[in-house]
């Protein structure tokens, strides 16, 4: 550092702190908001998320409408085209979810955070809230923009965009909800493991490799498969026909879209419970 600091004043100025400073949950949320938006990776990851959702939607719609004769479910093409973008974007939000919490451990920031809020668990909750709501908003905006970009592409090739259909609506809302919940799952892993490399390897390994291993045709695996977080949670962004097809390929319970999402939420709750236990009991 070449800049020379200016001479520090010999004693603190005597301005009393305004109001009555103390910790509240709303203030912790405000603090986490500042933290969230003041590291570069946030803007990068959210930007990538939005670009991927919109870009892949447009690309998929353009390619699919060029092969119109092969499309069976013409009525639902508009929401089917969301799938590639959301599948890719889940990796980006998972990375953000992990780093939001492990970044504090790897840099030592967690000691400052917990010194300012020594009850500890509210820090975890406020951070999760900021992460979840932000991704919900960014994903919702990206999906709306993606649909707006898709419309002229479909229209030009004579396809209908049918957004009044409840199944399509559920897929659209489900895609947004799925992304925010996957980020929460990644966050919970990060909070439990407290290490960026371990957290990223676990979450990306789970999403990219591990759950796919269960699709090999061996009966014991196919009983467990329906309970895995993204297999179950992913149903929320599938059409009913796709859910039926997936359920037919596995043993065990046939979850509906919302039941499957409930399983994902249960995973998040379980991992957060373990993370809170560790946060409460162990040294920071």
């Amino acid at each position: 550092m070449t800049t020379t600091p200016t001479a520090p004043s010999p004693a603190p100025a005597q301005t009393a702190l305004a109001g009555h400073p103390h910790v509240t949950f709303a203030r912790l949320v405000r603090s986490e908001q500042i933290k969230f938006w003041t590291v570069r990776s946030t803007v990068w990851v959210l930007g990538i998320t939005a670009v991927v959702i919109v870009g892949l939607m447009a690309l998929f719609a353009a390619v699919a409408t060029n092969h119109a004769d092969q499309i069976q479910d013409r009525a639902h093409l508009s929401v089917l085209a969301l799938d590639p973008g959301v599948t890719f974007a889940q990796l980006a939000v998972a990375v953000l979810g992990v780093l939001t919490i492990t970044g504090e451990y790897s840099t030592g920031m967690i000691r400052s955070s917990l010194s300012a809020a020594p009850r500890r668990t509210p820090v975890l909750w406020s951070k999760l809230l900021v992460l979840f709501v932000t991704i919900l908003v960014v994903a919702a905006v990206a999906v709306v923009v993606a649909l707006a970009v898709e419309w002229p592409i479909l229209h030009a090739r004579g396809f209908e965009m049918n957004l009044s259909d409840p199944q399509s609506q559920r897929v659209i809302v489900g895609s947004v909800l799925y992304l925010a919940t996957i980020a929460a799952l990644a966050y919970a892993f990060g909070a439990l493991l407290r290490n960026s490399a371990a957290g990223l390897a676990t979450v990306l390994g789970l999403l990219l490799v591990f759950e796919n291993l269960f699709s090999i045709p061996w009966k014991p695996l196919s009983y467990i498969h329906p309970f895995l977080p993204s297999t179950a949670g992913g149903k929320i962004r599938m059409l009913d026909s796709q859910i039926a097809e997936q359920n037919a390929s596995m043993h065990g319970p046939d979850f509906t879209a919302w039941q499957g999402y409930g399983v994902l939420v249960a995973w998040v709750a379980l991992l957060l419970g373990l993370a809170i236990w560790r946060l409460k009991k162990r040294d920071a």
Partner: protein, 314 residues
Amino acid sequence: MIEAHGLTKRYGEKVAVDDITFTVHPGKVTGFLGPNGAGKSTTMRLIMGLDRPTHGAVTVNGHPYEKLTSPLTEVGALLEAKAVHTGRSARNHLRALAATHGIGDKRVNEVIEMTGLQQVAKKRVGGFSLGMGQRLGIAAALLGDPKTLILDEPVNGLDPEGVLWVRNLVKYLAGEGRTIFLSSHLMSEMALTADHLIVIGKGRIITDGPVDQVIAQATSTAVRVRSPQAARLAEILAGPGVLVDSPEPELLELHGVEAPAVGEAAAREGLVLHELTPVRGSLEEAYMSLTSESVEFHSAALPHAATSDPEVTR
């Protein structure tokens, strides 16, 4: 006020802090000394509620840290390890901490100015020098205008001007009736800053008392005499309990006898004195003799290294 009762912290097999009891009083600067690995940083983390004690308890201003509803206004702390996200700017780091207590940007700017960080406040902390990092840590500690200040090695990496500023700051804050708990390895700095000392070694308190008393207990005062008739003087003074050393001709170092007695003896015999000086021990000597038994990571011995004197180690 910081009060620790039977505080113990074990990491697996290793006992880092072993059943220590002490009180850090408001209105003065209390120095916390000890060799590397003695348990200083662990003790400070226990006070801050960051590590959970195995046994015992510690309170700050009468409450366990985790029960404080406004921790930043009760305790400001600069702990040994860096506790800042390297990707964030100094100013945003302080803003985020301040926000937890609803402390406004006005106070953030104030502590930035106070610690001389104006020119780097918008830069990312990852590029900060050690000294800049320390200034930021001190700024964070001062955010809530706290009643108690805990500073682990605050002058580490600071330039001389920064060292002087920290010294004046903590004395000023202590003068306002605040509690200051400060660790440092710089004995000369500690001697200038602290009013009271707690010395820890191998997880136990070795001594706890006012600075002068700690030095007096742990070092022996000597009398230095320069005289052309040094040999004669040594003969007169020799007696039980008196130790005479002559590091060079015409110079004596006397232990076990006070300066007035030497002067009177010389006068009786009509001896000429060129110098008669009581030599007080330094804090460094006191520290070395107090901790020689409990140094965990010994450096290779050098000739004339400080020798241990088990008699004064308690």
